[in-house]
């Protein structure tokens, strides 16, 4: 089993392995091999298309947390220039699960904030698997307020399983830190664009997720709790995560249909991790487009619209 591929992608992995093998042979015998490779590549593409055109919610949830999926820092590198990371909440610590700082987008000054996962074990631990602690949210809030002072649009990038369930986090007021961000962001006098780039999990995601435009990458997810968490509470068994993923409607198309997200950013065939560069280009285009849309609206109107949008969330009868 190829670990760079998820279980449902294994048929693709097998084909790709065959192509690699042929290439290896091909280097000393050029006749007809090229043709064969092209044929197999076509087949692999078809296969990928057919598998990816019919993904279940649980499979998309797997893609959203694929170990090779591009993380916030990868996008920073590809999309922004002149990034300066700013650290610390000025009160307790610097939380490496949230990265933030000033940068330029096509020359334009912006504030960017997002959750960051780790690649190797050491970094995963340092980043706490992108599960922020209160000081992370407070750092984010400090940067949001700075953005307001210096008239920088805020771009946030959501990729977290959720806030960290730890003793220290509770002692230092996890709930208050999340709640305060929701309150501050709802009235922040600068445009805010939120993008879910991987996992959007619960209050930990929402704490940097209030704004004027909500974008989501095609194979990202966003919900009130992880499928495993939902399954273990409602089904009393985390093994029902696939059912929970389906029931919660956490995929991009479903959220779009429900009117909860504004736009879906398409991913390259096979997911963002198969072609980070083209993914970053699409994301950048999406961000530029949203920013231009907001540029056309006066700030007080943006704030009114943000408020009415927040008030419009929910379904009920009277």
């Amino acid at each position: 089993m190829n670990l760079n591929f998820l279980d449902f992608e294994q048929p693709i992995a097998e084909l790709e392995a065959k192509i690699e093998e042929l290439r290896y042979v091909g280097s000393d015998n050029e006749i007809n091999i090229g043709e064969e490779i092209a044929k197999l590549q076509g087949k692999s593409k078809d296969l990928t298309e057919s598998i990816f055109s019919n993904l279940s919610s649980a499979q998309i949830a797997q893609l959203a947390r694929h170990p090779q999926r591009p993380y916030f820092l990868d996008y920073i590198e590809q999309i922004f220039t002149d990034f300066e990371e700013l650290h610390g909440d000025r009160a307790f610590a610097d939380d490496a699960a949230i990265v933030g700082g000033v940068a330029r987008l096509e020359g334009r000054p912006v504030m960017i904030v997002g959750q960051q996962k780790g690649r190797d074990t050491k970094e995963k631990i340092r980043r706490n698997f992108a599960m922020p602690r209160p000081e992370g949210y407070r750092k984010a809030m400090r940067l949001f307020e700075m953005a307001e002072r210096f008239k920088l649009p805020v771009l946030t990038f959501i990729d977290t399983p959720g806030a960290y369930p730890g003793v220290g986090a509770e002692e230092r007021g996890q709930s208050e830190a999340i709640a305060r961000n929701l309150l501050v962001m709802s009235q922040l006098k600068t445009p805010i664009i939120n993008t879910v780039i991987g996992e959007g999990g619960s209050g930990g995601a929402l704490a940097i997720g209030v704004g004027d435009r909500l974008l989501i990458l095609q194979y990202s997810t966003y919900s009130v709790i992880s499928p495993e968490g939902c399954a273990s509470i409602l089904w009393k068994s985390s093994e029902k995560a696939a059912d929970a993923a389906e029931a919660m409607g956490l995929t991009a198309p479903r959220l779009k249909e429900l009117g909860l997200v504004d736009a879906i950013i398409n991913e390259p065939l096979g997911g963002a991790h198969r072609d980070t560069e083209s993914m970053a280009a699409s994301l950048k285009a999406g961000l530029m487009e949203s920013l231009e849309m907001l540029d056309a609206v006066p700030l007080d109107k943006i704030l009114d619209q943000r408020y009415s949008r927040l008030m419009s969330y929910g379904n009920y009868t009277e």
Partner: protein, 286 residues
């Protein structure tokens, strides 16, 4: 049935086995110290155990009726009812869970809002009904809270919220998550306008409710020994793999860590809040 029971004439036989339950309604047992208490006395004592001062959980409606002055009460947005927009089904349908909770509690959803008076001072009070799906916050809870807050904004009167909730309602998925943002946004407006909001945290206040409206009071106060936090203690235990210290996430722990302004005994609540609110709103002492 054993041979002896069979011998007994049917009128002597008792149904339902050996355990005799206390007649419904007359006696209550303190679930902290186990003292058996006369229910009428308990009620006079606002469901606080006279022996050990344990604060029992109480329903939302009872809570508001005891908190507000007896005259001029008016329920807010009473007709809002939940809908199942996602057609959510776990081991049960969400629709059935709603019906069941409505039958069990007599309420449409997990938050009740009332306009009334506290010692003559007009205000709006809201309370979570924990028996309605764990007091979970879905669309109706969010909307009712906002409508209650809007009345406060219009009439420039304080808002008090008694929270008792397990958090966001999972059956409404992202919609319920967004209620956190919605309720926080209306509180931002109140805060900006200087309309007081007092959050009373009661047992238990967790998850998405704790991480939004419940922690955003001008004053956050709690009843004694209430469980208050973001992540549930069991989840934390599984994550950190150690037993949690005694009193973790209890009101006294929050007071010590600076998360709440004070702990108020239920029997003093009306006096204390009336006092604070009269000061915040520049009224003469109640």
């Amino acid at each position: 049935m054993n041979w002896f029971s069979k011998l007994l004439p049917s009128r002597i036989r008792t149904e339902g086995g050996t355990k005799k339950s206390v007649p419904e309604g007359l006696w209550a047992k303190c679930n902290a110290c186990g003292a058996v208490l006369y229910r009428a006395e308990m009620e006079r004592n606002l469901d606080v155990c006279p022996k050990c001062d344990h604060h029992m959980r109480i329903g939302a409606r009872v809570r508001l009726e005891r908190f507000l002055d007896e005259d001029e009460r008016e329920e807010i947005a009473a007709n809002l009812k939940p809908v199942d927009a996602l057609k959510f089904k776990d081991i049960k349908k969400y629709k059935d869970r709603i019906t069941q909770a409505q039958k069990a509690t007599g309420e449409h959803d997990a938050l009740i809002a009332m306009k009334g008076k506290l010692k003559g001072m007009p205000l709006v009070a809201t309370a979570f009904e924990f028996k309605f799906m764990g007091g979970s916050m879905g669309s109706v809870v969010g909307e009712r809270f906002v409508r209650a807050a809007n009345i406060c904004l219009e009439e420039n009167i304080p808002l008090v919220c008694f929270s008792a909730s397990g958090g966001a309602r999972m059956q409404e998925a992202l919609f319920s998550l967004m209620q956190m943002a919605k309720t926080s946004a209306v509180l931002a407006k109140m805060s900006k306008r200087g309309v007081p909001f007092i959050s009373v945290l009661t047992d238990p206040t967790m998850g998405g409710v704790s991480a939004s409206l419940a922690m955003l009071g001008d004053l956050n106060v709690a009843e004694p020994n209430a469980l208050i936090g973001f992540a549930g203690p069991r989840v934390i235990e599984q994550t950190v793999r150690e037993t949690l210290p005694e009193g973790f996430q209890r009101s006294e722990f929050l007071l010590e860590h600076g998360a709440i302004d004070m702990i108020i005994d239920r029997r003093d609540l009306r006096d204390k809040l009336a006092n604070v609110l009269s000061i915040l709103t520049h009224k003469s002492a109640a």
